[in-house]
Subunit: 181 residues, 2 copies
Amino acid sequence: MKPLGVTVWFTGLSGAGKTSISQRVQEQLGEIYNTELLDGDLVRQTLTKGLGFSREDREENIRRIGFVAHLLTRNGVIVLVSAISPYQAIRQEIRQKIGSFIEVYVNAPLEICEQRDVKGLYRQARAGEIQQFTGIDDPYEVPLNPEITCYTAQESLEESVAKVTEYVLAKLHSSALTLPL
Amino acid sequence: MKPLGVTVWFTGLSGAGKTSISQRVQEQLGEIYNTELLDGDLVRQTLTKGLGFSREDREENIRRIGFVAHLLTRNGVIVLVSAISPYQAIRQEIRQKIGSFIEVYVNAPLEICEQRDVKGLYRQARAGEIQQFTGIDDPYEVPLNPEITCYTAQESLEESVAKVTEYVLAKLHSSALTLPL
């Protein structure tokens, strides 16, 4: 009997805190479990290189990340995916394909994300230098039934991280999906 | 200490027997180990959808398969890759990136592959209906130091399969790279 893993999918606006939370979760779970972090920004340099931000390209981007997450998950890995993934339908498609799936809605109001503007992208989007930017001139479809919501405007990074790791560990232990290696 | 896997990379002309051998190897090793088969023809419908057969696209195809094989390998999976992968330099690049890597040269003379022509592709290539077909009007660069060569025009499928599984098992056991699950 092979162990199963889980995909933990972080969705939310740019600047909501997906990368910070997912990196910290990986640090904690990675001490005991096989983990992989697929960060949307990073995989655009390898796995999804050449894709743009049209609806079609965004869907292909998410589908491709989902394909890889699926392969890893069924081989016992805890896969952390950090990607805006703005469309509900495609998130749902991936969830059904993977099965062992936890959706984490990294929820911060647009005003806060725009205020933080860590990468300077909101400024560029407002100035019209970037098109099809989620939250500005491209939609973000809020998750309907996420397993976890992290309210990063109110809670600390450690609180958000604890929510996720506790949920993941409870799921793994209750269903015995994965054994520590 | 996490277990490491291995990538077993089957390269050779279309019709040389890569898919048959890799499928059979997966059947045998899959009973005990975590295995994944990334078949070039199949992943072109998902992972590498939209890529063509120009040199650039072929390289991107192989690089992307290599990226996924790497992720799986470092999480303890035996990854079987079956892809023509005609260029030496890119195979070498993938080998170095992955580290735990076995190159299997599925070696059958072009005349034999063309005679078999299981998918009817050689006929189409000769008729000019397909361009950039490896062995006809696109080069195949023979592996320089493959760990295994399967001479599929002389040996039986079972002989080829046995060569590969024995090599893989010896490698895994000698270096204790992976433990049975």
